[in-house]
């Protein structure tokens, strides 16, 4: 009895409130997405909204049960849960039936379930346990390698199940690692890499004159040079070198352009030559003045050049054709309304047609006409956009923002590293899902099939996110228990 009372007192009801609001809004959207004018009630269990109702009730039940479990157990059994989830993922690869190429669904009687949805929670627990160990530092190889393995094992298993989208979620843990002490530069370099990749791929089809290089490569090199100049000015406070570099670059560019009148000049090589020359220049400065600050710049430049060369290769050889197409669609390079771009195009039309106030509940025509595929799972946000317009979509995003901010606050008030790390994992995962899913629907992110937390139709994902969140709530409640 006393335990129940303490839970009721210590539970973060605000979070529960946001959770319930999101789940209910999701349910209504699913009803809207699968609604036909001649269809029965929201509780018709042969329909998706009716089924989702059952999932929601069971998710509430699961959440309730999780709150009753002693919080210490989560810490004690963290590794067991992690290993269990890994084993389940392995079993799934062998047991699962092939559903449209994906081997990720376990069938237990009439219920099908995706263990990958549980693996996120298990990995979060595993990470929290490992990193909260006494004396843990995100510095030595001894600490970093097991950490990498904890993240990498489920990642590779989910890839093997052919669920690349779900596997990408594991990138989200970078955010948690950043909070726990990973160098911020990793995040920056990550972003810079993506920027270079996009520029190279997108502009590699734009050629300069005839066969004289591509805009992508030249711009990529240009950006590297700009970074060098910026670094010289703002980090090294050495404007003289920066100006010399700038003049040098312009000189080479003009010289190449003039030489082009008489000779065949490939601008790709000219731009790469410029970067290499600048590196030699920095090394020279370094040796001459012993600044010791330019080594990093040289290393960075060399890596970037190599990356630019390999980006094309990576894109063509490493990515699957359908992944290539998705990225090209995102970059507006492939424009087939019924090809891969069809989904996103239709999704934008559906959202765009919602206007400010939306067409009203159950009045969306685009979703009704089944123009938008997967409209009750991955593209559920479309229905919100079409039926409830700008204010409705913004409201949903706002509630998500409130929830995420609340989780960050919960995270920071933990006294134990275990709980804090777990909380950051939860925030990272939810944020990543939100960013990719809504970004995809809005045409900002590539089409990666991952659900919108608490919203998308489906038991696995709803249960998965509920478990993820309620374990956090239980850990958080324990914080007060111990104080008393």
């Amino acid at each position: 009895m006393s335990k129940n009372v303490s839970i009721r007192y210590a539970l973060d009801w605000t979070t529960v409130f946001y959770y319930v609001v999101l789940v209910l809004m999701g349910w209504i959207s699913i009803y809207g997405a699968s609604y036909n004018f001649d269809q029965a009630s929201i509780f018709d269990f042969s329909q998706r909204a009716g089924k989702q109702f059952i999932w929601i009730l069971s998710a509430f039940a699961i959440g309730g049960i999780l709150l009753l479990i002693d919080s210490k157990l989560y810490n004690i059994f963290a590794y067991f849960i992690y290993v269990g989830a890994i084993l389940l993922l392995i079993v799934t690869i062998f047991v699962a039936h092939d559903i449209k190429g994906s081997r990720s669904w376990l069938m237990i009687g009439p219920i099908s379930f995706q263990p990958a949805e549980l693996a996120k929670m298990a990995t979060a627990l595993g990470l929290a346990k490992f990193m909260s160990a006494y004396n843990y530092k995100l510095k030595t190889w001894k600490d970093l390698i097991p950490l990498g393995l904890i993240i990498f094992a489920p990642f590779i298993l989910i890839i093997l199940q052919n669920e690349t989208g779900t596997a990408l979620v594991y990138v989200a843990f970078l955010l948690m690692l950043y909070r726990e002490g990973m160098k911020g530069i990793v995040l920056l370099i990550g972003s810079f890499t993506i920027l270079l990749f996009v520029i190279i791929i997108k502009l590699s089809i734009v050629t300069l004159q005839v066969d004289q290089g591509t805009l992508g490569m030249v711009l990529g090199m240009g950006i590297i040079l700009l970074v060098q100049i910026g670094y010289a000015i703002f980090i090294c406070r050495n404007q003289k070198e920066a100006i010399i570099l700038l003049l040098g670059t312009i000189l080479v560019g003009v010289a190449a352009y003039i030489l082009n009148i008489w000779f065949y000049v490939n601008y790709n090589y000219v731009s790469i030559f410029t970067v290499v020359a600048s590196c030699i220049y920095w090394i020279f400065i370094e040796l001459f003045h012993r600044y010791k600050k330019y080594w990093f710049l040289v290393l960075f430049s060399i890596c970037s050049v190599l990356f630019c060369f390999s980006a094309d290769y990576l894109f063509e050889k490493v990515l699957e054709p359908h992944q290539q197409v998705r990225i090209k669609v995102l970059l507006n390079m492939e424009d087939a309304p019924l090809g891969a771009g069809y989904n996103v195009n239709q999704s934008k039309i559906a959202i765009g047609s919602g206007g400010f106030w939306g067409k009203g509940f159950l009045n969306g025509t685009q979703t009704k006409l089944k123009y938008v595929p997967e409209q009750d799972t991955d593209f559920i946000f479309c229905t919100v956009g079409e039926e409830h317009g700008f204010w409705g979509s913004t409201l949903v995003l706002f509630v998500f923002w409130l929830l995420l901010m609340r989780i960050l606050r919960i995270a920071e008030r933990q006294r134990e590293a275990f709980s804090r790390i777990y909380a950051y994992c939860v925030a990272s995962i939810l944020f990543f899902h939100l960013m990719i899913n809504v970004g995809m629907v809005l045409g900002i992110m590539p089409v990666i099939g991952i659900p919108l937390p608490f919203f998308s139709y489906g038991g696995s994902s709803l249960w998965g996110f509920t478990i993820l969140l309620f374990i956090l709530l239980r850990l958080d409640a324990a914080r007060l228990e111990r104080m008393r």
């Binding site: 001649d38 009704k368 006409l369 700008f390």
Partner: protein, 612 residues
């Protein structure tokens, strides 16, 4: 101190999250409020993707005779929302259907449980697989029935009323198939069985798309971009079968009134020349609207016409097992050309002889005269040759070797690297099986399993396997997996049998004598040296099955055949003449023995067999 700076990172994270959300809100603002093109996209024009079905690949026989082609068919589709002011009576009359049928059909379409993909906005199939004659009336007056559309399709048409089991049929795809393969949608057709199933992906081709524009009320506003983005359907690839249509037709004719099957294989290539299972049916009765009704009739027929006996029925091979037995027993050093055994005719024990001939018997005459006691004794001395040993270990080892060599001819398991749909395994009883049945490793001996020696008891084969054994014998010890698709890649599936070449000549001689002096004298073809063996397999369902296996000509064989006539009687009487006629047709191009052909055709062994 360090912890403080790390704590500050929460602000960085909060800023990142907030920034992304603000970015998305701005994006929403752009799409939903500033830009108008998306609104127009939804309000004025939306795409209607109209599937263009590709013609299915044609099927030819080995001589490039067209066997299966396509004829146009029509579906009537409806979009529930667009139907208004419907004159139901006139509509039903034009389609010659009852009003009650119409009402039922509409109810079925609207029923979410039976038609989970239903939407009143999208086309739903009202009637499918109509012929040109069915829609002739309604075609001109279609404009009177808004909401109804005619959709073009193709149906299968057959040049001959034959080879139903080989060709298979096409039917509406199951929900499971739709879930597992993106190619299919509700109402599509796909191969259900036979070749149509095995080569579905090759035959089906690629669907095309016609993109139409329509407004929010569903009215078609013409082609999108003048058809620039349309995708033309790609016809399915044609398929050339290994079948010889003439031989197939003859074999089916010879089987009228009988139950059983024939498989003929070209030994050098493993190509199946004919594959018949009777009772059969005209494949065209499973096409179009009458499909389901006819299908139910076939399902309920007690003679099981839907079963492909050639690959699915399992029989005791009886004496037709003896040539293979002779090879394996020689290879295992149990007997050789000069081994003799006594035969007391019908008084022999424990296995009787069904023929009268001199004694003792040699291997050669044992094959020629089909002497059971000889094969029993030969089998016994072979697997007992090294004694029984402790716990029967030596005996069991020798028996397992026998099983292994027999199975190397393709018996006891399915052909997994071929393209035959739905096969049975057959059975060659293993050592483990007997250990289990007799509950110990010492509980069984040669005498216990004596029926194996003469191809009775637990030994079971399918006609396909039997024909393949003949093919392997004709090839002197190897076979190419029997197959139906005439292409080079199939020829690489060579399987070596575990009997050396040197043991074959005597078996050839014995099988040849079957036509000269033995049980098949009456089925000899003048001027042609053939090899064969009769079989009369006892069974629990009445008269024995009449079996004949063989190949021809003896030198450089061109065709290997297995014939099984169920519950007919002696192998020599029913199966042997069919073998002989098929060989004549295939090697000489036509039948000269017309009266024999006539007589065989008219024999009826089962009065329940219906011609379909």
């Amino acid at each position: 101190m360090i912890n403080d700076t790390l704590q500050n990172r929460r602000y960085v994270i909060a800023v990142i999250i907030s920034a992304v959300i603000v970015l998305y809100v701005l994006r929403l603002f752009t799409i939903q409020i500033i830009e108008s093109k998306y609104k127009e996209g939804a309000d004025s024009n939306a795409f209607l993707k109209k599937t263009q079905f590709p013609p299915r690949g044609l099927i030819y026989d080995r001589k490039h005779t067209l066997m299966v082609y396509n004829k146009p068919a029509y579906d009537i589709a409806l979009i529930m929302r667009e139907i208004h002011d419907l004159d139901t009576v006139a509509f039903c009359k034009a389609l010659s259907i009852d009003k009650s049928y119409f009402i039922n059909r509409i109810a079925e379409i609207k029923d979410h449980h039976r038609n989970p993909g239903y939407s009143s906005y999208t086309p739903q199939l009202f009637m499918t697989q109509l012929g040109i004659e069915d829609i002739a009336t309604i075609q001109q007056s279609m404009y009177k029935y808004p909401g109804f559309y005619i959709q073009n399709r193709t149906l299968r048409e057959y040049a001959f009323p034959s080879a139903a089991h080989v060709l298979g049929s096409i039917g509406e795809v199951s929900q499971k198939k739709i879930d597992n393969d993106d190619y299919y949608n509700q109402g599509d057709y796909a191969g259900r069985d036979g070749i149509e199933f095995t080569y579905e992906e090759q035959l089906r081709g690629e669907k095309g798309v016609e993109i139409l524009l329509r407004d929010a009320k569903g009215r078609i506003k013409g082609k999108y971009e003048n058809g620039k983005e349309d995708i033309a359907p790609k016809a399915g690839l044609n398929l050339t079968l290994t079948l010889d249509a003439q031989l197939q037709i003859l074999a089916e004719k010879l089987f009228s009134g009988k139950v059983g099957s024939v498989v003929a294989i070209e030994p050098a290539t493993g190509e199946i020349l004919a594959m018949v299972s009777n009772p059969s049916f005209n494949p065209s009765i499973l096409v179009g609207r009458q499909r389901s009704e006819n299908y139910m009739q076939l399902v309920n027929d007690p003679t099981k016409p839907l079963m492909n006996r050639a690959t699915q029925a399992q029989y005791s091979p009886g004496s037709s097992f003896k040539p293979l037995q002779a090879l394996v027993l020689q290879q295992m050093d149990g007997i050789n050309e000069s081994t003799m055994f006594a035969c007391n005719g019908p008084e022999s024990s424990p296995i009787k002889c069904t023929h009268h001939h001199g004694s003792p018997v040699s291997l050669l005459s044992a094959i020629e005269q089909s002497c059971n006691p000889y094969f029993w004794n030969a089998f016994r001395v072979t697997i007992e040759k090294d004694g029984y040993g402790e716990k029967n270990a030596i005996f069991r080892k020798n028996y397992s070797e026998w099983v292994d060599r027999i199975k190397s001819f393709g018996l006891g398991s399915k052909f997994t690297d071929g393209d035959i749909y739905e096969q049975s395994r057959g059975n060659i009883p293993s050592e483990k099986y007997y250990n289990r049945v007799y509950q110990s490793v010492t509980g069984w001996r040669a005498i216990t399993i004596r029926s194996n020696s003469i191809g009775q008891g637990e030994v079971l084969v399918t006609p396909l396997q039997l024909a393949n054994v003949m093919s392997a014998i004709a090839n002197e010890g190897y076979y190419i997996t029997p197959h139906l698709n005439k292409c080079d890649s199939m020829l690489k599936k060579i399987h070596q049998c575990k009997v050396d070449k040197k043991y074959f000549p005597i078996v050839y001689e014995g099988m040849s004598r079957v036509f000269e002096y033995g049980t098949a004298r009456a089925s000899k073809i003048e001027g042609l040296d053939m090899c064969g063996k009769t079989g009369t397999a006892d069974n629990s369902h009445g008269k024995p099955h009449s079996i004949f296996v063989g190949f021809a000509p003896r030198v450089n064989p061109k065709i290997a055949i297995a014939v099984v006539v169920e519950n007919a009687g002696f192998g020599s009487e029913y199966a042997a003449p069919i073998f002989s006629l098929l060989v004549e047709q295939y090697l000489q191009g036509k039948i000269k023995r017309v009266e024999l052909e006539d007589r065989v055709t008219k024999i009826v062994t089962n009065y329940n067999v219906q011609e379909r």
